[in-house]
């Protein structure tokens, strides 16, 4: 027996270093739970960018307004899928709505989600689109026409008064929408921030960090989608709009990076019991994703790139050098920055979700996340779930953001976003 015991002891499982509680050797929340806050963050960020147009009257963003909303909708519809696929019993997911446990932050998911989808996004889109649906419904044949007509919900009144009401209502909803978007993502941050058992997660700054990084990623996504859409449609890019988005991205990124830096500064200075293992985690298991990808590639580099580019737009710079950076250079820099930021925020979600499970709650060791290629929680599934919202968005763009209004449709009185870009 002794030999047997010695053998077992010698076979310390290879993916574990130091001591972890036996049940912690498996990482419970997989890459799918990395995607969930990532996608939800994109939703919130895209909506907040759109709200700049309606509430804060940043008119230069008008060409991208509808794209932002549709992006937000596509990603919102894709957001619950990773959660659903991760569940041990996906067929029981309805329970979270039927018997929501009020002390659980996760129980609020269904309600926050439903609120955001129905009361904010769909309503906002409906008021914004109703006139177009009525018009397109009149001239479009086949199922598409039916679809547009159904989407009007039978309200075909296009009088001046009715359209004015649409506009006003849309504004009101945006005002409700901003706190809702913040709630949507702040609550995702709270899911992690409320876990006192985990010293990396249990942190009052967590919801704020999640909201800020959500805004960053959402703005970056809209910038990215806008440029991709223009490129696919061979349309010229509206530089004023692009510069505005870049400004928003820079500002959001600066604040987000500052708050996340503050979080780590505070941890290191306070140096509580857990700091030793968290430091080891940051420079060890998470070095590539935290230091390299999230901090340097995902924050520092885009900040420098965007910072210098935006500096070139200031009167000071123009005065000195007689010219701003050429639009073609700016476009490339913006595009590169948006991609870097998108990757950086994805890395941030990884570092929180996976990183938080790599160290033991005994603070004495690490385990390893062994990700499979296939399987319902593997790489393949993750890629599919990440691509899905883009596919959905492509469909939405085809249906609701046509290059030209449906055949025979009268041009709308005021130029509409996509058309302005054309």
């Amino acid at each position: 027996m002794t030999n047997e015991v010695l053998q077992t002891a010698a076979q310390t499982l290879p993916h574990v270093s130091g001591y972890v509680y036996p049940n912690e050797q498996n990482v419970v929340w997989s890459v799918l739970i990395v995607l969930y806050p990532y996608i939800t963050g994109l939703v919130a960020g895209a909506f907040i960018l759109a709200s700049l147009v309606r509430v804060f009257r940043v008119t230069s963003l008008e060409p991208a307004y509808r794209l932002c909303l549709l992006t937000s909708l596509a990603f919102l519809l894709g957001a619950p899928l990773p959660l659903l696929f991760h569940l041990g019993h996906p067929e029981r997911c309805y329970e979270a709505m039927m018997t929501p446990h009020m002390t659980s932050p996760m129980a609020m998911f269904g309600f926050v989600y439903a609120w955001y989808l129905m009361v904010v996004l769909l309503l906002e889109l409906w008021f914004d689109y109703r006139r177009d649906f009525v018009k397109w419904g009149r001239v479009t044949p086949g199922w598409k026409g039916w679809m547009y007509r159904i989407f009007t919900l039978g309200v075909t009144d296009l009088s001046e008064k009715a359209l004015h009401f649409d506009h006003q209502a849309s504004k009101v909803i945006t005002v409700i929408g901003i706190p809702s978007a913040i709630l949507l993502h702040g609550y995702v941050g709270f899911i992690f921030g409320s876990i006192k058992a985990n010293p990396l997660w249990g942190n009052v700054l967590m919801p704020i960090i999640f909201i800020l990084s959500a805004i960053v990623s959402g703005v970056a996504l809209c910038l990215f989608m806008y440029m991709v859409l223009c490129w696919i449609r061979r349309q010229p890019v509206d530089m004023a709009c692009l510069d505005s988005m870049a400004r928003a991205l820079f500002a959001a990124l600066l604040v987000a990076a500052a708050v996340e830096g503050l979080d780590w500064f505070h941890r290191i200075y306070e140096a509580e019991e857990s700091i030793a293992i968290l430091k080891q985690l940051a420079v060890g298991k998470l070095f590539n994703t935290l230091i390299i990808t999230q901090a340097i590639l995902g924050a520092l580099l885009p900040l420098l790139l965007l910072g210098f580019t935006l500096l070139s737009l200031t009167s000071f710079f123009r005065h000195r050098f007689a010219h701003e950076l050429f639009p073609v250079v700016r476009r490339r820099i913006y595009f590169l920055s948006s991609v870097l930021v998108l990757i950086g925020v994805l890395a941030m979600r990884w570092n929180v979700v996976i990183g938080g499970q790599l160290f033991s709650k005994s603070l004495r060791g690490f385990t390893t996340y062994m990700m499979e290629l296939g399987g319902h929680e593997g790489w393949g599934m993750a890629v599919v779930l990440l691509i899905f919202p883009f596919v959905l968005l492509a469909v939405f763009i085809r249906l609701f953001l046509p290059e030209k209004p449906p055949a025979g449709g009268a041009p709308t009185e005021q130029s509409r976003p996509a058309e302005a870009a054309a």
């Binding site: 039927m98 018997t99 309200v155």
Partner: protein
Amino acid sequence: MKVPPQIVRLLIVTVVLVGSYFVAKSLLTPPTFGELGWYRAAALEELAQHKLTYAGKQECEVCHDDIWQMFHAGKHQTLSCEGCHGPAMRHVDDPENEHLLKPGSDQCLRCHQQNPSRPDWYTQIDPEEHLEGECIECHIPHNPTEMPEEEEASSEQ
């Protein structure tokens, strides 16, 4: 003042959605949910029905009272029969066909091997320094301070 048609339609949609939510809620909430707290009270009874694997020491006395008496006179009285002999519920249910383990010396060493992590009060031996051979040659497991009689020791084997 006339209510805008948009609002009327949206109200209808809202009422339908909220209404169907409450209908679904009343249909899909399990019967005993909330009787004791925010959970299915019936779960208590379900979990209590799980089958036994370990019968418990008192079951052994029913048939093996001879060993029981010797056992309770000795130093091993705090032990459970099933600790060394393994789970006994199947044996209790079917004593003729289901038999228990007769543990060997490795089972003794599992507890009594010298180990610096073990408390000082506890009897430990170094198998290399201790006398050679099987433990039961010198100890009766059910009363380990007694020496086995020749007869019994041979019948054990």
